[in-house]
Amino acid sequence: MDPVLLKLALGGLAVLGCIGLFFGVGLAMAAHKFAVEGDPKVEEVLEVLAGAQCGGCGFAGCEAYAEAVVHDPNVPPNLCFPGKAEVAEMVAEITGKKVTGVQDIIASVRCSRIEGKVGKRHKYTGHPSCAGANLAFGGPFACQYACVGFGDCAESCPFDAITMKDGFPSVDPDTCVGCGTCVKACPKKIIELIPKAARVWVPCSSKDTGPAVKQVCEVGCISCKLCVKVCPAKAVSFEGDIVKIDHKKCMEFGPDCKEICVEKCPRHIFRYYRTSKSESETLRAVAA
């Protein structure tokens, strides 16, 4: 081989080798000096979280929650609503915290304007959103507290659990994880998170007086407060002029009350909550 070529080849190797070595050492030193202490636990938690970035936990995304739950002893491990009990247990295991019971909650729209035949007060022609229509005299429906029906909740739902049917939101109980995004999106503030196992609820949010409600809605709550009086568990109260049910108290009391609230309500707006009717009936049968 030509010694010149050999010299060139060896020279090239040596120069490139030196450059490589130089940067290698530099990178090694930088890695050592600027090393960030990563918490493997945060990574682990992040791995098990649902990863929907829904914000239902109250933190700015999954990573923020993962960090908080690992580092802050006051943050409970059961805040990931989409993940439900399974994730809560895994997070608890990683962080060494105790799971304090996870309850499935779902969004429920507290309005019955279709059933109550609430009419329209005016024709609305502006921007088709609930928040927009709400600016124009509180929305087109005669009841000031009625669902506006443009679907701001459905649009905000990160899980597509809400669909609009005839201009009224319908929540799919199997898809809804109770993250509460819709609660914040609703300008009427009529969406409430209710435990899936709840026994009863009141699908009306009217704060009006009886005569005013009767004028606009066939089924709306007239604030007679009979339910407050009859509940043996003291689980029903009025908060901000609308019925508030303490579901925990209600469920703890159990079926002995025979749902007297549902029976006594003169407007029949105090109702069995979704599927729980059949369950409570079976329970009652067992008790009998």
Binding site: H122, G126, H127, A131
Partner: protein
């Protein structure tokens, strides 16, 4: 009139005026209705708390609600009668608001007010009379006048501006007031000058009201000057000439800084109607409980400039004027540019109500709105130099909270952008939505 007309430099529009419907009609006193609903919040600030109970007997002009703490102005009984109920009434912007309903005593004699010599009255006495009379800026904003007339000592006010521009289409209340009681308006201006301890006052009137300009000039000449320099200045007809910041720039050439107040450029602006109310309060000790309201539009049988009691329900006004006509499509409280459409005639007249418009289908635009076509007309029309197009697009994209970069909070919702938009976009509504969401 061979004078060069002053105006503001940026933006502005020329909507059809429609003042011909009611500008020639003399102010007419409406008979007292059977019932009135006095809203407890008719001003900028905290709502009043009621001072009366159900079944109390109240006299015309009695204070029935007052603000104990914070900014506000008292409300007065506008009729003699019995308190029927303390409940709620429909309200043009907040849907429903607390109110006091008074059942009128039809036998009651109207209260009379004797004149007082205000020239000998000390400043504090005048201010307290204004406060007792519950006067607010009746041009629309409803800012309590006794607060505005007692500026912080740091603000060196040198000029009072009276706003007689009345740039909103249809409305003719200020026009008629200046034509029929120019002396009272000028008297009110003199009183305000005395309270502020200054001598310079300019009264800005749009040039489409030559009769009012003449009447006001005559009244200014007749009034004893006492060293006060009051002048009437005709302004170019351009909407929104009567907006506070635009009027200041037109009349003085001073530009109020963004988010600033008129104090920052040493002026105070009052509506001519407010000046008249100040005159009534100081000279006659008469509270603000009646108001001239323009009833106009093609949808009302008989248009009018009505002097009504505060709290009169719109349905009573409609009944008095012979009902509405066929084809009525929209009722607007206030002017067509900045007013609010209302779905019920149970709404009562407030201190800040300047007009009620009954519009037929050919007077309004019901065409559906489209997408922004980036024509930039709204940029040309905006008197504040903002970007309404961007705010609209951002709101539609669900990013309302990022819109303050386009001057969101400098917008005073004059509606020029929405008026010129060829895609009929509800830009003011987008802006209101953005303000609501960005504040959170």
């Amino acid at each position: 009139m061979n004078r060069e007309l002053l105006t503001f430099p940026k933006g502005g529009i020329h909507p059809p005026e429609h003042k011909e419907i009611s500008e020639h009609l003399q102010i007419e006193r409406m008979p007292i209705p059977a019932e009135v609903d006095i809203l407890l919040q008719q001003h900028f600030g905290a709502p009043c708390s009621p001072l009366v109970k159900k079944k109390d007997i109240v006299n015309e002009g009695d204070v029935i609600g007052t603000v104990s703490a914070g900014l506000g102005a008292s409300v007065h009984a506008s009729v003699t009668g019995t308190v029927k109920n303390i409940g709620t009434s429909p309200h043009p912007t907040s849907v429903k608001a607390p109110s006091i309903t008074i059942l009128t005593d039809t036998q009651a004699q109207p209260r009379t007010y004797g004149p007082a010599d205000w020239k000998a009255m000390p400043r504090d006495e005048m201010l307290s009379r204004i406060k007792e009379a519950g006067i607010v800026g009746i041009g629309g904003a409803g800012f309590p006048t006794h607060v505005k007339l007692a500026p912080p000592p740091a603000a060196k006010v040198d000029t009072l501006l009276l706003n007689g521009a009345e740039c909103e289409p249809y409305l003719t209340t200020d026009h008629r007031l200046m034509l029929e009681s120019p002396g009272d308006v000028v008297g009110g201006a003199s009183i305000i000058l005395r309270i502020l301890g200054i001598n310079e006052c300019k009264i800005g009137i749009e040039a489409n009201k030559p009769a009012a300009i003449d009447a006001m000039e005559k009244a200014v000449k007749e009034a004893s000057s006492n060293g006060q320099r009051i002048s009437v200045v005709p302004l170019k007809v351009k909407y929104p000439q009567g907006s506070e910041k635009q009027l200041i720039q037109s009349l003085t050439g001073r530009k109020v800084p963004g988010f600033g107040l008129p104090f920052d450029v040493s002026v105070i602006v009052q509506n001519v109607g407010t000046a008249k109310a100040v005159y009534d309060a100081v000279c006659l000790a008469k509270p603000l409980y009646e108001k001239v309201v323009t009833i106009s539009g093609k949808g009302i049988s008989r248009p009018a400039n009505l002097l009504v009691r505060i709290g009169t329900r719109l349905k009573d006004i409609v009944e008095y004027l012979g009902g509405t006509k066929n084809g009525l499509a929209k009722v607007v409280m206030g002017g067509p540019m900045m007013g609010f459409a209302i779905p019920t005639l149970d709404v009562p007249v407030m201190k800040t109500t300047s007009g009620v418009l009954f519009l037929t289908e050919d007077e309004i635009d019901l065409s559906p709105h489209g997408h922004c076509i980036r024509c930039g007309w709204c940029l040309d029309a905006c008197p504040m130099g903002l970007s309404p197009n961007e705010i609209g697009v951002y709101v539609e994209a669900g990013r309302a909270e990022d819109t303050s970069q386009f001057g969101l909070f400098e917008c005073f919702e004059c509606g020029c952008c929405a008026f010129v938009c060829p895609a009929r976009r509800p830009l003011v509504q987008f802006i209101r939505l953005a303000k609501m969401k960005a504040k959170k």
